[in-house]
């Protein structure tokens, strides 16, 4: 058993790694700029940069010295001067570069002051008849186009956080210019940042609620469990009973009727259940409160609707499970020795059918955590489902990522538990 447990545990590692990788790819790579997604187009470059700084998005993706920065927006000198038109003397050459007559002292058109004590790299392609002083570094004279990369160390004071340029010659021409953030170590990447914070169980800060995500999750878990647990067990109880009835009357009218009913139940959209239930039972008949979360009364209707919704597919699943057992030899033997019907069904068939049933229940445990997105947002239950829907609406990347990640890890763990239970119940599994 110990060996099986160990082996199974090792199997978990690549899956968890895969989940980490997929969430990383989804939010850091595919999403483009999470800052832009969350803050919208109207945010200033400084706001975006600060958002990225807090969440480590302004680092290289996997490995490297250079991270992006929004301080110096990209300008295509074949098209226009862009922000560089702030230099009164500068003109745009039609061959695609900026030309500045010297001598002059100018300041790079940064969108915001550089971050204090951060290191940047300035990469320029330029021509100059004399050396040019940039910040504390020097660009050597270059008669033909030359690419140079300078280190810029931003200081504490506002003055030290600007980039000044002192042109001493008569002409300075600039074809390309790029500013990067230089990392202290090439390992300071988005990926290691992500992993390091996860290892500390730090899921970041929710932008819309301005609270650490972990606090939001903690406050959401109780209402979610209060709602989801009765649904899970109610569904289980009712559908197992109905499945037993189906199995007992196989292909006769109770079975047929239940099958038709469950297909019909499956086909009703979840939304319709909720809208109709809320309208008829809560609003028209007034049996339940319509919206809110103040006492246990408020949970009755969502639990009822959630149970009804899952019933169709569950009955069908458990019916198959029961029928698989019904035709085994031991059932025939039990009947043959004269055991009553109820006794055979409940004492013989049910315990044997419990293995897939338990597996199914264990595997649906993680969904207790994610909660019901729809039920919670409709009935105003402040759980994790409600939280997730709101987070998706306001593009709150950190919250969505945390919920997705924890949900997946719980699923992997539930899988492990299901397998262990299985191995514990059925020794054959252990040996294979």
């Amino acid at each position: 058993m110990t060996r099986f447990l160990l082996r199974r545990f090792l199997h978990m590692i690549p899956t968890v790694g895969g989940v980490l990788l997929i969430t990383f790819i989804l939010f850091n790579l595919v999403g483009g700029s999470p800052a832009l997604m969350t803050l919208g187009d109207k945010a200033t470059p400084l706001q975006l940069e600060e958002f990225d700084e807090v969440r480590g998005f302004n680092r290289p993706l996997l490995f490297g010295w250079r991270g992006p920065t929004r301080a110096l927006p990209f300008t295509d000198f074949t098209q226009s001067l862009g922000p560089w038109s702030a230099w009164p003397e500068a003109t745009l050459d039609s061959r695609g570069f900026l030309s500045l007559p010297g001598p002059a002292t100018v300041e790079l058109p940064l969108a915001f002051l550089l971050f204090p004590n951060a290191t940047y790299e300035l990469k320029v392609r330029y021509r100059s008849d004399q050396p040019v002083k940039v910040h504390h570094a020097m660009l050597p004279a270059a008669s033909d186009w030359q690419v140079q990369t300078l280190r810029i160390e931003a200081g504490d004071t506002a003055d030290e956080r600007r980039i000044r340029m002192k042109v001493e010659g008569t002409r300075f021409e600039l074809a390309e210019v790029d500013l990067f953030r230089r990392m202290d170590s090439p390992w300071h990447s988005q990926f290691t940042y992500y992993l390091r914070h996860l290892a500390r169980l730090d899921f970041g800060v929710s932008h819309s609620a301005n609270e650490p995500v972990i606090d939001l999750l903690k406050s959401g878990i109780v209402p979610t469990l209060l709602l989801a647990t009765p649904i899970l067990f109610g569904e289980l109880l009712i559908s197992v009973v109905f499945a037993l009835i189906c199995a007992r009357y196989r292909n006769r009218w109770p079975d047929r009727l239940l099958l038709v009913l469950s297909v019909a139940l499956m086909s009703v959209n979840y939304l319709v259940w909720i809208v109709a239930g809320q309208y008829l039972l809560a609003f028209k008949l007034g049996w339940f409160p319509v919206w809110g979360f103040e006492s246990w009364h408020y949970l009755l209707l969502p639990v009822l609707i959630g149970t009804l919704h899952g019933l169709g597919s569950n009955i069908r699943f458990y019916r198959t499970v029961m029928l698989d057992e019904m035709y085994k030899d031991y059932v025939r033997t039990a009947f043959a020795k004269g055991a009553g019907e109820a006794r055979v069904l409940f004492r013989h068939v049910l315990p044997n059918a419990m293995i897939p049933v338990i597996t199914n229940v264990v595997l649906s445990l993680p969904f207790l955590y994610t909660g019901s997105l729809l039920l919670e947002s409709f009935f105003g239950i402040p759980g994790l489902g409600y939280l997730s829907v709101n987070a998706i609406h306001s593009s709150d990347v950190d919250v969505v990522r945390a919920v997705v990640l924890i949900g997946s890890v719980l699923y992997v763990v539930a899988n492990l538990i299901a397998d262990l239970l299985y191995a514990w119940v059925d020794p054959r599994v252990r040996l294979s």
Binding site: P366, F367, V404
Partner: protein
């Protein structure tokens, strides 16, 4: 012993479905919806070519909340738009989602499933790892997260559903291919010196293709359900009358006694999903009774 060896030809499948009374009704329902969806597609394309405001978007504020009657058979909504015409557009969008997401998910699932089942070993390990990983991410949240990252709109729905639901198809195909790879016909093909890919895609794939049909009928209603849900939440279709958007609009009016929009949308969704669910069951019974309904919407 295996049902696959005497697999009915493709034409046989249709005749089996047509012979059953219930499945014939379902086929007719699906056919009817397809015609409606095509009509909606033409209607939409026509207005696009003419560059006019589509009739299903035309607002007539003097005709708000008309109950079903001669002018508007299915009534009008809060802006005086015809519910019937909007329902047709909803059908169009639902079909688009059902078909395009299947076109994304099924090829991925079939390709990976074939490779994993046939080559086993390392290839299998990697593909199994990939789908176990995908399967362990909570489905709906994953879809919503992809849609959020891609951006609101139909593209987000297509990619969200398409890129997450290939897992089920892949699992089924892999299991089927594994059963076939050591069958005599495959061994003879190997002895003849045929290449792996030729054996896999010309010989094995046609024999497991029934899985694809069943997978499609299972996927279709599930995708429709997800689309309704996403559009309802406001992350789906923008500015077009999808069923989810219609339900969202109608639910507020329901409280004021405007029952028709809600009722008709509900029925429209119900019947197509029901027809596909029943058809899926019938197909599964006809083609391969051992395939289980493993996925739920």
């Amino acid at each position: 012993m295996s049902a696959n060896e005497t697999l009915p030809a493709r034409k046989g499948v249709w005749s089996i479905l047509w012979r059953g009374r219930l499945s014939r009704v379902c086929l007719l329902v699906v056919g009817f919806y397809t015609v409606v969806a095509l009509a909606g597609e033409f209607h939409c394309a026509w207005h696009k070519i003419q560059d006019t405001l589509p009739t299903y978007q035309r607002q007539q504020l003097d005709q708000r909340f008309q109950p079903p009657g001669p002018g508007h058979w299915l009534g009008t909504d809060a802006l005086g738009r015809d519910v019937g015409l909007r329902l047709v557009q909803g059908t169009r969008i639902a079909f688009r989602v059902g078909i395009i997401t299947s076109l994304i998910a099924i090829p991925i699932g079939v390709l990976l499933g074939c490779l994993a089942g046939y080559f086993r070993g390392r290839v299998d390990d990697v593909i199994v790892w990939l789908y176990t990983t995908f399967a362990s991410i909570p489905g709906l949240l994953f879809i919503l997260a992809i849609a959020m990252v891609v951006g609101k709109g139909l593209l987000g729905i297509y990619l969200g559903i398409g890129l997450t639901t290939w897992v089920g198809v892949c699992r089924l195909i892999r299991a089927e291919v594994m059963k076939h790879r050591d069958r005599p016909y495959v061994q003879s093909a190997r002895v003849l010196g045929l290449g792996h890919f030729r054996i896999l895609f010309r010989h094995i794939l046609p024999n497991v293709s029934h899985v694809i049909i069943v997978a499609f009928t299972l996927r279709f209603p599930a995708s429709i359900g997800t689309e309704v849900f996403m559009s309802f939440l406001g992350i789906g279709v923008q500015g077009e009358p999808s069923w989810g958007i219609m339900i969202n609009n109608a639910r507020l009016r329901l409280w004021e006694g405007v029952w028709w929009e809600m009722t008709f949308v509900t029925l429209a969704v119900f019947f197509i999903v029901l027809a596909f669910n029943l058809l899926g069951d019938a197909l599964r019974d006809a083609l391969d009774p051992r395939l289980q309904a493993t996925e739920e919407g």
